[in-house]
Symmetry: C2
Subunit: 261 residues, 2 copies
């Protein structure tokens, strides 16, 4: 477990890295995108995802040479080794690739550090709005240099909520009942952008089936603000596997779990 | 029917009015909101909706004294007189009031002029992003001073699409099948903001049950860009009543109508 002086240094370097990756992203957006298909026609990867992940891996190996690095584009095809001992950095080089390709907006770059399994540092870069959301566990959550206030603990019926569209239609966890219990339903198409809305109190909750890189960073920042990050049916999440995650206020969680349990 | 010189003057004054209403909105957001419930707990009106509509009515009566003025907050309780002869200005003082209240983002101010039923001028102010989308029929569509390009005529399976959440769950017009046929589903909670995404090619289409003030302005701008504005089952819309509207590229319309007919 790194000490506070080491973590402070990791945090400074990680923030600098996120801004450098944002610069690279904006620069690459001025050149033609190279788009490949992963598991299906709507599961895309671009040269920007790949170049961002390479830059992040290279810099992280300098910052923390003995750490394990898990990144979406290198790891998505494999079963992940479940060992969380030591330092594990988790990278999402472009979160919301479909938005990135079709909208050139509403996507994020994310990074997290877990120390012996403990969520420790988290970063979500809202690329087009040029804001870095970040937290260091027990040291506060910030947007850029401004501390984030804890969101109001509102109930489901007072809150807008985001639910992944495919899962809403599948309805395996009563998502349609959850949606009908909320003030309104929203879908932004990027876990990072959706979690930012929960952090700011603009959504009372967000639920989707998420891979490690989709939730690792958001979990650190959300928990630092007193929000809950568990599964939609009230189980702890395993950050190295896929989970149907709920990120929400305490009261929204209680209301959702009454529906799902 | 006003002549081109008169319309040019209307356009200049209407743009100036939209910026003034935006200023008033931003100013009022620094004071406590007064929130009332209309038809249900999630159908809200605030002092800002009401003050914006008052300002817009007052200025429009100066700009075009003999015109009819239809505004959401004065008209929502009545059956609208269906006479579209002469000039009709249609006002949405805050579109996406739930977003305005819960998110303080993702809402719009809209205004349209119909001359003898013909969609003629349209304005959508994206308040928080500080952009005015506007069109004068047969004179081009603009964001601020920059002409908008016609969006690529993409098919449904290549496009992100926005569908109103309640209607997706009701599924009266096979909205779930439409959603499954698209590259992805999005929901932003404001017709104005959703239509802006279609204008920019960020969404291939948007469908929702809409009142006159929700679609009047967007229709002018969308049609000027070669987009289609009809009902979800290929009927012409009546701008003075409620319609389940589809705003989309030609190809998305063809794909949707194959599902709904």
């Amino acid at each position: 477990m790194p000490n506070n002086k080491e973590l402070k240094e990791f945090d400074r370097k990680a923030q600098k890295l996120l801004w450098a990756v944002r610069d690279q992203t904006i620069e690459l957006m001025n050149t033609p995108l190279v788009i490949d298909i992963k598991s299906s026609a709507n599961d895309l990867v671009t040269n920007v995802d790949q170049q961002n992940e390479r830059l992040m891996r290279r810099k992280l190996m300098e910052i923390d040479p003995s750490a394990r690095i898990v990144g979406e584009e290198e790891s998505f095809q494999h079963q992940l080794d479940q060992d969380l001992s030591g330092n594990t950095w988790i990278i999402d080089p472009i979160d919301g690739t479909l938005n990135f390709v079709k909208q050139r907006d509403h996507f994020a770059i994310m990074l997290a550090l877990y120390c012996d399994g403990q969520p420790t540092l988290g970063y979500i870069m809202d690329v087009m709005n040029k804001h870095l959301y970040h937290a260091w566990r027990e040291h506060g959550a910030y947007v850029d240099d401004k501390q984030l206030a804890k969101p109001v603990d509102a109930h489901l019926n007072e809150s807008l909520i985001a639910i992944n569209g495919w899962q809403l239609m599948k309805n395996n966890f009563h998502q349609q009942e959850i949606a009908r219990g909320a003030a309104g339903l929203r879908m932004y198409g990027s876990a990072g952008i959706e979690i930012i809305h929960v952090l700011k109190g603009q959504l009372g909750g967000y639920t989707s089936r998420l891979k490690p890189w989709d939730i690792a960073a958001g979990r650190v920042i959300a928990e630092e603000l007193g929000l809950i990050v568990k599964t939609i049916d009230d189980q702890p999440i395993n950050v190295l596997s896929s989970n149907t995650v709920l990120v929400a206020t305490k009261k929204v969680c209680q209301d959702v779990w009454q529906i799902t349990k």
